[in-house]
Amino acid sequence: MTCPVAIRIQEDDFDIAREIAVLTRSRTDIGAVVSFSGICRADDDSSKIAALTLEHYPGMAEEEIKRHVDEAMSRWPLNGVTVIHRVGRFMPGQNIVLVLTASQHRRAAFEAAEFLMDYLKTSAPFWKKEESAAGAGWVEAHARDDEAAARWTKS
């Protein structure tokens, strides 16, 4: 089973249709493709967000994502994985992250995508700074994200 992997950290936006096309082009063994796109929201539970700045740890970020993609590939029979994380300054409505998983069956594609997102949130070295009317401040980690990631270590 061929499972091409693409991991990119970039300032530019991504094109989901293009990324899916790259993953599935001239293959007939893929039955399911799941995409997750994370988008900058204007409302973070409490405050109104004007913009979001994403900082990352170059080098480690790619390696950490790669480790989790490898883990996902060992857990589920995947036919392709693409992870794109943008960095820079974003306005509400703009894309931040894309995870694509392809598999023969839907369950593996869904679970692998959710697994990757849960780990991206809690273990990939990215940090968000929010700008709102109250000023700028670093986003605090959510306990719910740790809990989401912890699900995958139970069996």
Binding site: L54, M60, H85, T122, A124, P125, W138
Partner: protein
């Protein structure tokens, strides 16, 4: 050894990276954080809640009791909020 700081740790320390030479008695991440905290107000502020600080050695997450011997690059940062 090279040390890197990210997010508010970087802002508090006031620099993104530097070369440090801790004494040989500093063996673990925990001890390194304690030693850095003594290097001036900016460091004391950045590391005032050492339990909140996450550490990576050579691009891999490590715990507070990890040995720093042989490390090429140590990074300190707050809990991650990407994705």
């Amino acid at each position: 050894m090279k040390v890197k700081y990210f997010a508010w740790v970087r802002e508090r320390v006031g620099k993104a990276e530097e070369i440090i030479e801790p004494p040989a008695s500093v063996r673990t991440v925990e001890e390194l954080i304690a030693w850095l905290s003594g290097q001036g107000e900016a460091y004391a502020y950045a590391f005032e809640k050492p339990k909140v600080i996450r550490t990576a050695i050579d691009h891999a997450h490590v715990k507070a009791d990890a040995a720093i011997a042989g490390a090429r690059e140590i990074a300190f940062f707050p809990p991650m909020t990407g994705g």
